[in-house]
Subunit: 133 residues, 2 copies
């Protein structure tokens, strides 16, 4: 079934091949990527493929889907991205039309220190062993 | 109709009243809030209400839903939050069961400077006039 969810799962499967030109097959001609945090827009499948190919890396990229929420036309994924050295998490809002992604709005949240003024109401989400930094 | 989406819209409507105790009516007894970026977990409706009530503010909080994607049991919102002085954006993953939120995983992405090595592939998402900083 050609659902929006299937299109997005295929997007991440193709990304994981690291052949970023292949991802163009699930992108509409009018595709745009928006990165609100850096106020950047990338227009078109070709620029998207080039950006991924040119991105400085230490090895092959892997993409681990940690969470996926899908409606009929929109899909949100939370993906852990790593090249073995660099690691980041992306939250991606996909708009899908006719089996192709027409718009991707993506966020890259980073870790920061918890404010002490709410420490009496919180507990650690993960134990310290998980992050040896 | 008591959909997950309706529960989440009611959550944000109640948040906007700034009577944070009232939000407890859409939270399950077993509710947890997870903030992965700060490795924090808040357990239970009461701690959630207290955290919001105690959060340092310069005025009433408003919550503007900029994007919402819903499946039958999960909802993602992108919300702009401000008290007139502080402003931030939250991406919230809600798990809903029986008309109540059982789990909320929330991210707070922040702005940062775009890397120059991809400038040849990007254009500004918004014109400079929008951010006078």
């Amino acid at each position: 079934v050609n659902t929006a969810e299937n299109t997005v799962r295929e997007f991440w499967r193709l990304m994981a091949t690291n052949d970023f030109a292949s991802v163009k097959q699930v992108l509409a001609e009018t595709f745009v990527l928006e990165w609100p945090q850096t106020n950047e827009l990338i227009r078109g499948p070709e620029n998207f493929a080039r950006m991924n190919s040119e991105y400085p890396s230490q090895g092959s990229w892997s993409f681990n889907i940690k969470r996926l929420v899908a409606s009929a036309t929109e899909v949100v994924t939370h993906v852990a991205v790593t090249d073995g050295t660099q690691a980041a998490e992306a939250i991606s809002f996909f708009q899908v039309e006719g089996g192709r992604v027409i718009r991707l709005v993506e966020y890259w949240p980073e870790s920061y220190a918890p404010p002490s003024n709410r420490a009496h109401l919180t507990e650690p989400l993960h134990t310290v062993a998980a992050s040896a930094a």
